[in-house]
Symmetry: C2
């Protein structure tokens, strides 16, 4: 059996190398590629995707997995080998259920839909995008049908990003949370509002960059194993063990934008930098839960990066960097400013208290579309109605409403909930961290992050995707994903800031 | 047959995409990859090389080529399809003659040899490198044996870089040239020497970069389809149609280094930017003669970029950029300075008059090693003896002598002659260009390069590797590669500069 395992791992190493290669091509495409390279690059990516798909879904892989499965009974069920065989059998079954023609067709449909969406958003014209979204929804229902029977038609979509999670679980988590978050926002809106005008000033780009670099270096980002570049949309990418890169964007008129995006991406990068090579080499990273991944970025960005202890340490340094802009702004006012709650139209600009409501609205719409209880043509109205109900605001137009996100045009249905799950998991982990590291707050006040990073490495990062997200949370905290710690965290934090 | 041709082209498209992908990974490795990514990157490259090799050498490719060969009799022998089938059959036959185990073994041997060479050069210790070079020479002889019978044991090596060329041809070209170049250098050394001290001053790096960019933009480098970055060793790379990148390095104490390297790489890039997509998509570029490619970079660097008409146009601009350094240096003195002849130890720093002698020495050594008439252990002595005979100088140590070049440690035997062939071909083409474009010199004096670039596009670039190098020269100039135009060019140019 050792020989067969070796053969399987050789295939998985190829798959992993092809996966990282695709990411290198995409990184370059977004960071440095000249415009003239677009056509060739998309052809190269298509070829590599196909070769990768064929390599993994070959009969050889299927045969090896089938022969290896019985062998796992003799292994420790938590051992790497048992988990690799189990996760790869699961992936193989999934990938081979979807016909290649369907994959090709979806790629073509979304390539066009993306172009049309760009135009529709620019022209604020939903009817342009509508037939393309209808086609995508049809195809996503067809996709789900490959996995029938299922508990819920949305399950196969969700499973792409949250391995093993069910729609019913997600709904059970979000349903009570929604009411509580809506109430919290209403309570906040009745109180005197916070001043954050000092964040909107001229902040020299190079100094913003350097300050961000200083902070994430202290947090633990390993520059020997990564780099940061500028892009329109910040992202983190794993180009191979020892090469985990991040990108950022800088708004010269607003402090928040680059700084919190840099810390957010650093959070993702710390996860990837903590994954051991032998798990990366079998391409296990591809099963990573996006919710767990997002919990790391959100934790560093929000629970650490928007906390008072964090700024007790870094604010004097920031004041030195931007003396003219912040020299006279008190720490407490700065802290309140970066935590200002203000319902807005745009998800990516939302604060901690309102963010999840943007997600729930999208999740409900996606489930409705998949169930057939909602029609694409009705989306602008449904969107605006729920924005009013949840956040008390009405988007001035569809460009700032239903057309704002790229995800649907890319065919990424099932993706949105991972953002909100990330928030919940971050708070849930944080409760456990505060138990395990009682002086966590003091350490942060001293600018010490190595104990925290060590905890995350040990409990989460080093496992890569050996465990399903619910399973991982259970192992670490004793319970599955739960919204209680998060609502507790919000009430506590914003209760203090807004005197609730 | 159309169907089979389509199938062949689909395979070749994959091979081309894999080839460009490997180049993207290598570009990133040399330009932006953090040090921690080294191990993963070399594994990714190994996997991609293997997949590319397997895709091309599959039985499917062989069968298609065999079925398509008879079909070429009905085609115009100069048509794309006839040439593609011919060139790919040739490549298939070559690639399938070399066992994969041998390729893997050579990759391992050279990977270690490269490391040892780095150390040997740093420590000026040839004996460290000697056993590794002996192993490489053994393996290169073994490589040649896969192609027996051959006219000369060096032929299969040469063919890797100059398709179709024979050792006897190269020897016949270089033999008379050597005596003539040695005589020329001796004549020059008897004359008063040229002053180039003004080139060795402080030249601001950003201004150097910007001036280089200005010049190659005017020459015709298309920035929509390329970019320039900094690296230790400048190079040009073809990452796909519409994405041809160059790199440069800047010496803040010397003007020549960055400028002529930028123009040199631009010359390579103009070639690649002129290759049509349908020929690139069948991976025909892989058969490009390095000598012809080098003729383009040398032409722009030397015949254009070190000419008096060129600087009649650009020198006033350069004087504005570096007023303090060059404001008082006359055009004629600048021209003489950048063309100073001075025998030196290092090939990459050699001037036009001495360069080829560095190559001939290497070629003779390579042929001697392959024939068995020379032993690796004797190389330091042989090297120094010939340096004295050809250039009248003795390297102070092996680091600046036999250990100076990376090529042998990489297993690139057969590569060196392409540099000298590039010089000869450039001069030979230039004679034809002056006939076809009688006011070429006036155009250059006016800073107009589009007629010249158009000529190169039409005669050379657009064909990619449809023709063998000798065949291409014959088509354009009416004769095969010939050293007469080059020696004529040298005598004329340096005769004027040195009053010979």
């Amino acid at each position: 059996m050792q020989e067969k395992l070796k053969q399987l791992k050789a295939i998985l190493a190829d798959v992993s190398h092809l996966d990282k290669t695709i990411k290198i091509l995409s990184w370059d495409q977004q960071v440095y590629m000249p415009p003239g390279g677009a056509e060739s690059r998309s052809e190269q990516l298509e070829t590599l995707q196909r070769i990768k798909h064929d390599r993994f879904t070959s009969e050889e892989t299927g045969k090896l997995l089938q022969e290896l499965k019985p062998y796992t009974a003799k292994l420790d069920p938590d051992s790497d080998n048992a988990r690799i065989i189990m996760m790869m059998s699961r992936r193989y079954e999934k990938k081979t259920k979807v016909p290649s023609e369907f994959v090709g067709e979806l790629a073509r449909v979304t390539a066009i839909a993306y172009q049309v969406w760009t135009q529709a958003r620019a022209e604020n014209n939903f009817s342009l995008f509508r037939p393309h979204l209808e086609k995508i929804v049809d195809m996503k229902r067809q996709y789900a049908s490959f996995f029938a029977p299922y508990d819920h038609v949305y399950d196969p979509l969700l499973d792409e990003y949250e391995p093993g999670m069910k729609t019913a679980e997600v709904q059970a988590i979000f349903e009570p949370l929604r009411t509580q978050q809506v109430e919290l926002i209403k309570a906040i809106s009745d109180k005197p509002q916070v001043d954050d005008s000092f964040l909107f000033q001229d902040f020299d780009e190079t100094r913003q960059w350097d300050f961000g670099v200083q902070v994430i270096t202290q947090i633990g980002y390993n520059w020997e194993q990564g780099r940061q570049d500028k892009t329109v949309h910040p992202f983190t990418t794993d180009l191979g063990t020892g090469d985990i890169r991040i990108t950022t964007r800088i708004d010269p008129k607003l402090f928040n934008s680059a700084f919190f995006s840099t810390v957010h991406e650093c959070g993702h990068a710390l996860y990837d930098q903590g994954i051991p090579k032998h798990l990366s080499d079998v391409s296990l990273n591809e099963e990573l839960s996006l919710g767990i991944h997002e919990s790391q970025s959100r934790m560093w960005e929000n629970l650490v990066g928007r906390s008072l202890p964090f700024w007790r340490y870094f604010y004097p340094k920031l004041q030195k960097t931007f003396a003219a802009q912040l020299g006279k702004v008190k720490l407490e006012d700065f802290y309140k400013g970066i935590n200002k709650v203000q319902p807005s139209f745009i998800r990516t600009e939302a604060d901690e208290a309102t963010y999840n409501l943007h997600i729930m609205l999208r999740l409900e719409i996606e489930i409705g579309l998949m169930e057939g209880s909602l029609q694409v043509k009705d989306l602008p109205k449904v969107w605006n109605d729920r924005m009013r109900a949840y956040l008390g605001v009405t988007p001035p137009n569809d460009a700032e409403g239903v057309l704002q996100d790229v995800h649907w045009s890319d065919g990424y249905l099932g993706y949105f909930p991972t953002y909100a799950l990330g928030n919940l998991v971050a708070a849930q982990l944080w409760e456990k961290i505060e138990q395990d590291i009682p002086d966590m707050e003091d350490q942060i006040t001293r600018g010490e992050f190595s104990t925290l990073l060590g905890w995350l490495r040990e409990k989460i990062h080093k496992h890569s995707a050996k465990y399903f997200p619910q399973e991982l949370l259970q192992r670490i905290t004793g319970s599955k994903i739960d919204s209680a710690p998060y609502i507790h965290y919000l009430r506590n934090k914003f209760g203090q800031i807004y005197n609730l």
